[in-house]
């Protein structure tokens, strides 16, 4: 149990890290010219943009080894996602479930599906229509961190909410 709570604490730290550590190419350009208060549409400063969702709201939640239960930190992130999705009803999302490389390919595929579904169910419980939320499991096929230590594993055990476009096209 001690190990588990440590892992959970580490997971919480990583949630914060993940929010500030995204690929710069995904920022949507834009920066620099806007004065205080001006918002470049589509940039991370535009609260209606996918970039804002990804970076400020937080597009991912992390899980303990073998687990698909949502930590309090994960629930906070998902609450933010739900609020955003409710405020931006044109968007639909695919929730990608992932696992670390420990475990067989088959088990990890099933585990990734559990994680994606846990995130989806939480968003639905906060009022997001299920029809807007797809899930897919990648198991251990798409790690974002490639070292073979817990530091990387903790970031790979994730469910990522990917905005896949607007329902209005």
């Amino acid at each position: 149990m001690n190990v588990l709570s440590k892992v959970l604490a580490l997971g919480a730290l990583s949630v914060i890290a993940a929010c500030t550590n995204n690929d710069p190419s995904a920022l949507g350009g834009g920066g620099g010219n806007g004065g205080i208060g001006s918002i470049v549409p589509g940039s991370p400063s535009d609260p209606r943009s996918p970039a804002y969702f990804q970076q400020t709201v937080g597009d991912r939640v992390l899980f303990a080894v073998d687990q698909s239960t949502l930590s309090p930190e994960a629930q906070t992130v998902l609450q933010g996602q739900a609020d955003w999705l409710l405020a931006n009803p044109d968007f639909v999302a695919t929730i990608e479930g992932h696992a670390d490389e420990q475990g067989t390919r088959e088990y990890n595929l099933a585990l990734g599906a559990r994680r994606a579904n846990a995130a989806r169910e939480y968003l639905i419980s906060r009022g997001v229509a299920g029809s807007r939320l797809n899930t897919v499991s990648y198991g251990k096929e798409r790690p974002i961190e490639i070292c073979s230590t817990e530091e990387c594993y903790s970031k790979n055990r994730r469910a990522v909410t990917v905005l896949t476009g607007s329902t209005l096209g």
Partner: protein
Amino acid sequence: MMKLLTSLFVGLTLMSAPVYAQNGPLRLELDEGIIEPLPFAVPDFVPDSPAAAQFAQDISRVVAADLTGTGLFREISSDAFISRVSSFEAPVQFADWKAINADALVTGAVNVSGQKLTVRFRVWDVFSGQELGNGLQLAGTTEGWRRMAHKVADQVYSRITGEGGYFDSRVAFVSESGPKDQRLKRLAIMDYDGANVQYMTDSAAIVLAPRFSPTGDRLLYTSYESGSPRIYVTEVGRPKPRELKTQDGTMSFSPRFSPDGRSIVYSLIQGGNTDLWKMDIASGQSTRLTNTPAIETAPSYSPDGSRIVFESDRSGTPQLYVMAANGGEATRISFGAGRYGTPVWSPRGDLIAFTKQNQGRFHIGVMRIDGSEERLLTASFLDEGPTWSPNGRVIMFTRETQGASGRASLYSVDISGRNLRPVRTPDGGSDPSWGPLQN
């Protein structure tokens, strides 16, 4: 052809029993555990014409490599030869082969006529000076010379061990390239020894875990080409993948053929939960086999089709279970420390190979079908996904190395735990599926 040969061989063994009365015929009893490999010699087969020279040499080399690769045989280098074999028909100088301690001798001749390749060979028990089985002639094409060599080696193997061979077989696998976080995967098929690799898909979509049909004519695999994991079937000869459709909104993976090749058992993910289902391939009709909130995956049929072994975490950790092929109550068979996955029933029906994860290490192991006599054959950072050779003597699996530069490759190991060897592939490799002996 195989059946005929086997019966010929059995007949000959019985007939020659009196001849070998003192020591018995040359025979490796695999179940007794082979400690000392049996020394053999394969002098280059005799070409009937200059056009056959290269084939004769190459075929002899592949025969020798097949036998040596089992770990059961040790080749005596041609440097040690006293006799040269310059004619297939000439009497064998047994004293010369005894003197260099060759227990078995394989002689052969190769004829090429246009695209047609003919191989004749004999297997000799050097100690008794007798032929082991009957001389045999195989006909094929020059293009298929490696297969002819594998067939010769299969004959030698089965005449000396009394068991079926596995050299003239193919392996489907996933060819892997690129770094861990951008890995490209292609479905591929090759000879069991890594030769003749052919790619069946490009790397546009993730592909996983191909599975041969019982006769080797078709492959099942999982692909993300639709965006989520789904099961496809394709013919091996004419790759034209077709999705085996499941209900909308589901994901499906981990398929395996039934022994009659008419249906598949697979994992279906619905609402985050993974259960086992069965599908009739012709009608596309699916029926549910398990119904629990636990993960049920990696199903594999017993060779008679009556039972299914699979992995479930219903006890809290992944363990192995056996149930009737139609579903119903399942019996847990794994009880050791650690987590068990990817069980595969052996073609002989007596053993189950599995992946085990314990204390941060992965193992390939085997146990009896009731879970007794568990033996771990390998240990590494990550070993998984065993597949059986057609004769149930060898297991091929995926080994992945750790760290940022981690790479997946194929290995094989004897079920005795000896003879761990890499299987060479052009790029990385994973998820092997060993097909049947070819006709």
